[in-house]
Symmetry: none
Subunit: 229 residues, 2 copies
Amino acid sequence: MSADEPLVLVIDDEPQLLRFLNAALKSHGYRVLTADTAAEGERLAVSHRPDAILLDLGLPDRDGLEVVANLRAWCEIPILVISARGKEDDKVEALEAGANDYLTKPFGTRELIARIGVALRNRVQPLTISPIIEFGAIRVDLEGRTVTRHGEKIHLTPNEYKLLAAMVRHPGKILTHNQLLKEVWGAANLQQTHYLRVYMNTLRHKLEEDPAQPRHFQTELGVGYRLVE
Amino acid sequence: MSADEPLVLVIDDEPQLLRFLNAALKSHGYRVLTADTAAEGERLAVSHRPDAILLDLGLPDRDGLEVVANLRAWCEIPILVISARGKEDDKVEALEAGANDYLTKPFGTRELIARIGVALRNRVQPLTISPIIEFGAIRVDLEGRTVTRHGEKIHLTPNEYKLLAAMVRHPGKILTHNQLLKEVWGAANLQQTHYLRVYMNTLRHKLEEDPAQPRHFQTELGVGYRLVE
DNA sequence: CCGCATCCTGACGCCGTCTTGACGCGAACG
DNA sequence: CGTTCGCGTCAAGACGGCGTCAGGATGCGG
């Protein structure tokens, strides 16, 4: 799944530096979004909500400090400023405007990666959805990786849990065979729909009141399965 | 007592720099606590819970990175590292150990103040856990690095302790093989799950009543381990 | 240089998990 | 009405993870 890797937005107008940053970040497991103007950068920040922003102060179309202020007006995404200017006043202004860090060119890849790591480390998770889902007598704690039924802990094998977690993340929606297979067994096993039947069976036996007449784990014939509450 | 102004703990052994930092911080509205050794600094951090820590890496009694790790074992107070060494490796090590920022001497007052401001700005809720954790007959003192069982001191080797500390920091949660391996043996040994089995074994023998049927150090098959109380 | 503690590594048996196959059932279809 | 297909069910064997132990390498202090 590509969505669990942090997304970094790089705003810089130098093509070389842009390529360099892109490669460095990707090789360290980040997804990267690039923009070569302030306007484009701000637009992407709004639409993609990156986990961190790398901002070069020397942009052609707008002052870098203004970009920081604009971003800070509506979000708290960590901003790491890059600049050729190393004067103390520049740093102070940027940091006070809302930047989280200030790197003076030239800087090393490893330091950059480490500082991005710091920025991501102390971000506050908005926690969009509650990591705990309940339906019927069943409670799934995605964070603690525990499942209880009538308050009693239910032991699930890794595959069973992965399958349950995949369904729990999209309650009410249909999950096709392909989606489930890809999520649990990887894209190489898209044909093995038999796996699904076997594991759905054990899940029902462990979680449903009457496994033969499932209330929550319903099968959509020829399509996939659906979790109903 | 002016308790609403942020409290900064400065750990440094150079009297001049100490005085300088003290004056600079106070003039910007901070309360200041000073220590000239690592041991004293850690003690003050525990007793006063400062809002930020300024740490000079060149301490006489202990390695600065070790101090960072010790503090990070039980708290998330922002740590700004000061060092005369400006090499990239030094910075990366400190930042990865848990430091929030790295300043190379000499640095300007205003930049220092600005960076402290950043650290305080994005501090998360003081998610400090008590440096002392108990479960069953076992007591772990993360600050003193001591472990007792039924009141008797238990000797742990460095790796054993690191593994225990990693688990103690997230009681009840699953710690995956990767997380534990990264924390104890570094990211280079993510494959050596065998290490985990060996050390979990010795930990259980030293701490569990019945090592064959562990109550606290439970294994989550195929995933990792979990510390239950 | 020696001894000790710690760490790494390999071997082995056990047990849970995964895979695979067989079979019954019902619905859809010709 | 018979066939076919998808699905549920069960069981058995393969597989790999896990715990366990011990020998050897390594590093450190005396």
